[in-house]
Amino acid sequence: MPIQIDHSVKGKEYRPFVIHVERGKIKEFARAIGDLSPFYLDDAVGRASQWGDIIAPPTFPATFRDESYDTGALLKELGTDISRVLHGEEEFEHFKPIRPGDTFLCRTRIADIYEKSGKSGPMAFVVREMAVTDGENDIVVTVRHITVVRL
């Protein structure tokens, strides 16, 4: 049964949310990937490094989530559900290292919604962008996430 999604969500900005980067979360995340680099896991190695502490792996901002902006809430607004969704693309651009104890502000918006026909039928592409800034209002990382909805 084909579905329609609500294109009026395009342009929507979400309430900013705060992330406190936790030491244990960085290590848990690196271990879940199976990346056992001491620069992610060993506090003493981190302290002696150029960053002064352990840092997070490149895809760690995938953990920056908030209830107001999670995929379930977005899918409801779009008029679909999680069983129709695939992850299409993901991009991170890093400007500063992410370290334990950092506090960030995450601002998200729906940058674009478009439809295309693929080999498995019509699909909608929902582009979410997140800008992550620190206490100096410097950009730490930007995230671009494309969700594909099977229509």
Binding site: A32, D35, Y40, P57, P58, S83, E89, E93, H94
Partner: protein, 150 residues
């Protein structure tokens, strides 16, 4: 090369990274990644849910495979070098699959002159399953120290 500093002068356009094989993927790793990332989509955990959604069986989080691809870059060029990484998820990774990450340098250019003696390299990235089917294609940019200015 895993922990050695790789300098801008050490890599040439066309150079390929040592392939990084990850897996075979087990359910426990998907459950662990769900907990670590906060992505509890049941399509990665519950075979009945995945079947009802028309996906046949559970499959890995795309972001787990992207994590493998990012590791292949940092294992080669060093932790903290990745400025930008972007991927397209080209195929599903299933339980039992082995994901092998590949990449090569496609361009070199001096980055913004920040006095730290950096050079920037652009990479093309891809990952395949054990059948040689592409599951990820992507690109990355990495900043490397340069011997010239260091």
């Amino acid at each position: 090369m895993k922990y050695a500093t790789v300098y801008y002068e050490d890599v040439t356009v066309g150079a390929e990274m040592p392939p990084l094989a990850k897996g075979p993927i087990k359910q426990i790793q998907l459950t662990r990644y769900a907990g670590a990332s906060g992505d509890f989509n049941p399509i990665h955990q519950d075979p009945a849910f995945a079947k009802a959604a028309g996906m046949g069986d559970v499959f890995a989080h795309g972001m787990l495979s992207m994590g493998f691809v990012a590791q292949s870059v940092t294992d080669w060029l060093g932790v903290g070098t990745v400025q930008k990484i972007g991927v397209r998820f080209a195929g599903l990774v299933r339980l039992g699959d082995v994901v092998t990450c590949h990449g090569k340098i496609v361009a070199k250019h001096h980055g913004k002159e920040d006095g730290r003696g950096q050079g920037v390299v652009d990479l093309e990235l891809w990952a395949e399953n054990q059948k040689g089917e592409k599951v990820i294609t992507g690109k990355a940019t990495a900043a490397l120290l340069s011997r010239e200015h260091s």
